[in-house]
């Protein structure tokens, strides 16, 4: 196992080392696939641009953009994460054992982001295929302009959930303070129950049932500009 202490070494060296492992794996070389990052102490951009099936445990809380643009990496953050954790993630997984700040999973295209605590505002903003499971609550404007993927919230959602949403699916178990423009409550059909069951299983959530959730998504009424709906914007 590779071990990297951010109090002893630089962030640049850490990310370069992780990128090298991905390069080695692509050419069939021998790579360290298990890594431990010590003393992150709120550092920004920890383990960004990972491109390969590395297992990375970050022992402590991180700053902005941890795991940004992750491809295939399995990143575990033992602590809380600052803004933009897992931004534009492509694949793989990120698990935050604490809370996540704003923009968690922003623009993510794939993979699974699990937040065991709460997520702040704009969780899943502009998502493009990522799956996000939040054990606690999410803040206002979550899933703003979300294009595709799934956001699962076991707790409550703040104001303007799913504002200007496209085709992402939202599942909330608790209360929704308000829905954003063009976001509506939708029927939970069997296919959605199966999908939600799979998402909960992947997130290792075993103490709740899909039937306890409500589904939300796009009313698709703002897909073409209509002057008589201008007050919705």
């Amino acid at each position: 196992m590779g071990c990297f202490d951010l109090q002893q070494n630089t962030l640049r060296d850490l990310n370069a080392a992780l990128h090298r492992q991905g390069d080695l794996l692509r050419v069939g070389g021998k790579a360290d696939t298990q890594w431990e990052v010590l003393n992150p102490r709120g550092s920004h951009a920890v383990a960004v641009g990972v491109d390969g099936p590395l297992q990375i445990t970050v022992c402590g809380s991180v700053g902005y953009y941890c795991g940004g643009m992750n491809q295939s990496g399995e990143i575990r953050i033992e602590g809380s994460a600052g803004p933009g954790v897992g931004e534009n993630m492509m694949s793989g997984s990120i698990r935050v054992t604490g809370d996540a700040s704003q923009y968690a999973g922003a623009t993510g295209r794939g993979g699974l982001l699990v937040i065991e605590g709460n997520a702040s505002s704009r969780c899943g903003i502009s998502s493009k295929g990522i799956d996000i499971v939040v054990r606690g609550n999410v803040g206002h404007m979550s899933a703003f302009m979300a294009q595709s993927g799934n956001l699962v919230v076991l707790g409550d959602a703040g104001d303007a959930l799913g504002d200007s949403i496209y085709e992402a699916r939202l599942f909330v178990r608790g209360q929704v303070k308000s829905l954003g423009a063009d976001c509506i409550k939708k029927e939970m059909r069997d296919e959605h129950l199966r999908l939600l069951g799979d998402l909960l299983k992947a997130a290792e959530v075993t103490d709740v049932r899909p039937e306890e959730f409500t589904r939300y998504g796009s009313a698709r009424e703002l897909y073409h500009f209509d002057v008589d709906r201008a007050d919705a914007y």
Binding site: H19, A45, G84, Y103
Partner: protein
């Protein structure tokens, strides 16, 4: 005997001119604001209002066909391991696949490559054709993040974080349903055929302090190899430039209000932002005050059309310029040979700006396969290369006449202004005087 009041010649209002009247009628009929492409069409103080002085008793010119006048420029050597080395100080601005056809994007890449300069992606991501035909490709990092992925980020030669655009500082992009083809929809992860409105704000940072951290993230992802540009619209050029430098930019791209767009509201294009001429000196002030002039390069765009514009921009302190609308004209946009077709869609060659509708007879701002096939990317790329070479030769001609062995040696002292407004904005004397409005006594 009856009296007849003599009639006067009918007089139209200068305020309610024909265009204004037609726009009022159009708005009343549709209930929609007017959307169009291209840049500001109103007359504003511009680089045309400046003149070079040329050589004289105290300034020695260089021989046009004997003495060298350099044109090369390096962009992004502040932090990046691999800065861009351009042979000419003219780059191709960001324009998206989606707003432009695949053939048009290929032509831009070919033309830029033939002349040793860079081209730029746009809102919608990087296409393989564009990467394949562009020796130097700048990858735009936009609020929408359409098509954004780390593989393309690593394939790029530089990264341009787009904060704003001269045609619409503070506004996002628009791509209406008729141009959301299946390929465009797939690249943008959107349903086919819907009206797509790109975000105007980045989704995961707010303000220059956050931006500094975002830049670190992008540098870390790309192992500090790629230059990072920040593109701003011509809104508050002094502060935007200073904050871009503070945030860690290698290059600042400053786009004045004459800069084009694929589509936005007419009211935005004509009424928001400052003229390109008014933007340059405040930006250069910011760089000079920070001791970063020529260390963080300034790329100016917004209505650059010829070598004189290039030379004037460089003389006022820019390191390079960027062209968009002019490049499209070079490859065939608004060509009179399509006049009958322009007429058929209610326009005329030279005025066609409904780029968002996807009906471009020239095959440039369209996703319609039949129209797009009209543009030969090889021939169009050659035309662009010719045009870029002419612009460069023109800039060199002026620089030599001013006694400069490199176009970057041009300076404000080589210029005078033809109007009080231009003199004040460019901070050069009004022609025939030594008066710089706001700087010296008349």
């Amino acid at each position: 005997m009856s009296y007849t009041n003599p009639t006067t010649t009918p007089r139209k209002s200068s305020k309610f001119d024909d265009y204004t009247l037609s726009e009022i009628r159009r708005a009343a009929e549709t209930g929609l604001y007017d959307i169009r492409g291209a840049g500001a069409k109103r007359k504003v103080p511009s680089l045309d209002d400046l003149l070079f002085l040329g050589a004289s008793m105290s300034r020695y010119p260089l021989e046009g066909y004997r003495e060298k006048c350099g044109t090369g420029v390096v962009l992004g050597d502040r932090f990046a391991k691999k800065p861009l080395e351009l042979k000419i100080p003219i780059t191709i601005a960001g324009m998206s696949f989606g707003s432009l056809s695949g053939n048009a994007k290929e032509a831009l890449g070919r033309g830029a490559t033939l002349t040793g300069t860079s081209t730029t992606t746009g809102d919608g991501g990087m296409t393989p054709e564009e990467r394949g035909h562009s020796q130097l490709l700048v990858y735009q990092y936009l609020p929408s993040r359409y098509g954004m992925n780390p593989d393309d980020l690593r394939k790029a030669d530089a990264i341009e974080i787009v904060v704003g655009q001269g045609a619409k500082p503070g506004g996002g992009g628009m791509l209406l349903g008729q141009k959301i083809s299946s390929r465009v929809a797939e690249m943008r992860n959107l349903p086919e055929g819907i009206d797509q409105r790109s975000a105007c704000r980045h989704p995961d940072w707010t303000g220059p302090d956050d931006l500094a951290i975002k830049i670190v993230e992008l540098r870390e992802i790309t192992d500090w190899q790629k230059p990072i540009y920040i593109k701003v619209g011509g809104a508050r050029p002094y502060y935007d430039t200073a904050l871009a430098v503070k945030a860690g930019a290698d290059v600042v791209v400053l786009d004045g209000m004459e800069g084009g767009t694929a589509a936005t509201q007419e009211v935005f294009i004509e009424h928001v932002g400052q003229p390109t001429l008014a933007c340059i000196r405040p930006a250069v002030d910011a760089l000079q005050e920070l001791g970063m002039h020529r260390k963080v390069q300034l790329v100016l765009s917004g209505g650059i059309r010829n070598g004189a514009d290039v030379a004037k921009a460089l003389a006022l302190g820019a390191d390079a310029v960027s062209i968009g609308s002019a490049a499209l004209v070079a490859i065939g946009d608004n060509d009179p040979k399509w006049e009958a077709e322009y007429n058929a869609i209610g326009s005329t060659a030279g005025a066609y700006d409904d780029w968002h509708e996807g009906n471009d007879p020239a095959g440039i701002s369209t996703q319609d396969p039949e129209r797009a096939a009209r543009l030969d990317p090889v021939a169009a790329g050659r035309r662009l290369a010719n045009y870029l070479k002419v612009m460069t030769l023109e800039a060199q001609t002026i620089a030599r006449a001013c006694g400069k062995s490199h176009v970057h040696n041009l300076e404000p002292e080589d210029l005078v202004a033809l109007s009080v407004e231009a003199a004040a904005m460019a901070r050069v004397p009004l022609a025939g005087t030594d008066w710089i409005p706001g700087r010296s006594q008349a």
